[in-house]
Amino acid sequence: MRRVVVVSVVVLQLGFVARGYWSDHKEFGFQMFPESSTWRADVVRVTADGRRVPVELPWSGYRWDELVQDRGLSYPSVRHHADAGLDNQLAFLDAALDWVADNTPRDRETRYLEASVTAWHNDDPPRRELLRSGVRGGAR
């Protein structure tokens, strides 16, 4: 029994370390300070009538920096270091767009949120990427 537990933990740990090379979040992968990469994003609300409103402007009583406070996402328009790597950072930004779209019930005009991301992987040239939340129902 003891042997099974110990071997299982060792195999699991080695598996997590290997998974860290392709997973966004790298739990138990222990890749510390992995990149010097940076990123910034223009995040907008795309409304039912087609307007693109920056999230820096409060809406329906919401503020982006109050809704999204963690993982360096509060001020996306400012260029930031991607603490745990670009893939990790952009996965969080993507999830944050969905969370905001799903958790702002007073907002009746936004169809979806969109982030135009510029990312610099270490000293590589910048790459651009578009992230979108799911489409919200009931927007007018």
């Binding site: 042997r3 110990v6 860290g20 992995p34 999830a95 270490n122």
Partner: protein, 379 residues
């Protein structure tokens, strides 16, 4: 090689593994780690509790559950659970109902970390591993209120030795943390080539210039060529710690380097509880046996008495038995292998084996006179 011999080998390996995992060893290192981990848990929970008491919890802002079925406490229940976690951490550290307190601390910290992907950080993963292994090890039989209560009641002390598998597993995890980190940098050309550290420092140049550093130092630290070498040094340091901890010949050097490494990280980056935890975990690399070295002091000599008091107060890993020698005897330490060291080298040796003074005293063991005194031939 015969077919029978080939067939016997896996059985032999399994037996050797079982013997290693079941071998009774001292739990003193884990007991000390338990004591040290309580404050680390409090430090970890503090921002969550502080926010909770101010009326803000994880679900008030962006969070991302790992699984839809994961039970989510909200409001006062969540804050209450965190406070319970803090109480459990204090009880774990003090050794009050140690097994229960350690398991509760582990469960509450794990619950909170797995509430959201945003809660997960490397230092918290390491904390979970440490708490999980402390919870399965009988680490409360010494350095605990539980043990004190037993003594007060006149009950026989519980055996402070136990099967060593939690200790070996924690050693593996400790080495894995350094090894995984070093390996990921080794195989990344940007890291190993110096690009990552160079860019980080250049972008933080304003912060660097705010430090009391001479211009030439800032110039060196922001020089691309410097980082070509420095990055390799960092990567090899991590790998040296991961590997060096396993062998007695390199273990003290690895521990010494690890302390410098963590202090440097703490001074230059925000890593939450990682530095404190990682330095505390280093105590598990002490040989898991206790009172197997003898310190002989002359009770009539003030210097001897002072060293005896220091050892009684700071020998948290229980390395030494302190014995009285006849008046006029030199200060003497007898190591596990019977080697006797006297005078100044003995003081250096003793201080190098106490957790709080080891880092300062270990370099003294490299002084030729101390080395000569410690060689078996000198004894």
């Amino acid at each position: 090689m015969t077919a029978a011999a080939v067939g016997a080998r896996p059985h032999g390996l399994a037996s050797r593994l079982d013997e290693l995992l079941g071998r009774a060893v001292s739990m003193r290192g884990l007991a000390l780690l338990r004591v040290l981990t309580g404050p680390v848990v409090l430090l970890h929970l503090q921002p969550f509790i502080s926010d909770g008491l101010d009326g803000r919890i994880y679900s008030d802002a962006f969070y991302e559950p790992y699984a839809a079925w994961y039970p989510e406490l909200t409001g006062a229940a969540y804050v209450g659970l965190l406070l319970l976690g803090a109480v459990a951490a204090v009880a774990m550290s003090l050794g009050v109902l140690t097994r229960l307190a350690t398991a509760a601390t582990f469960a509450i910290v794990a619950y909170n970390v797995f509430l959201s992907t945003t809660h997960f950080h490397n230092n918290r993963a390491y904390l979970l591993i440490v708490l999980g292994l402390l919870a399965v090890a009988p680490s409360g039989r010494e350095l605990s209120v539980d043990a004190w209560v037993r003594r007060r009641r006149g009950l026989p002390a519980l055996d402070t030795s136990a099967p060593g598998w939690p200790l070996w597993l924690l050693r593996f995890e400790c080495a894995a943390v350094y090894g995984a980190s070093g390996l990921s940098k080794l195989v990344d050309p940007d890291w190993f080539g110096g690009t990552v550290t160079w860019q980080r420092v250049v972008r933080a140049r304003d912060d660097l210039e705010a430090w009391p550093l001479p211009d030439w130092a800032v110039s060196v630290l922001t020089d691309r060529g410097f980082h070509t070498g420095a990055a390799k040094f960092i990567v090899l340091t991590e790998l040296f710690i991961a590997i060096g901890l396993w062998w007695r010949g390199s273990r003290y050097a690895a521990v010494w380097v690890a302390v410098v490494f963590h202090v440097s990280i703490e001074a230059s980056a925000s890593v939450q509880v990682f530095s404190f935890l990682a330095i505390a975990v280093l105590v598990i690399w002490a040989v898991p046996s206790t009172r197997d070295r003898v310190l002989r002091i002359d009770p009539t000599a003030a210097r001897h008495r002072r060293l005896g008091a220091v050892v009684r107060g700071l020998d948290w890993l229980a390395r030494f038995r302190v014995e009285q020698a006849p008046a006029g005897s030199p200060l003497e330490v007898v190591d596990r292998d019977g080697t006797a060291v006297r005078g100044g080298p003995a003081v250096a040796f003793v201080l190098s084996r106490l957790p709080l003074t080891a880092w300062f005293a270990l370099p003294a063991l490299l002084v030729p006179a101390v080395r000569r005194a410690r060689s078996p031939r000198a004894a």
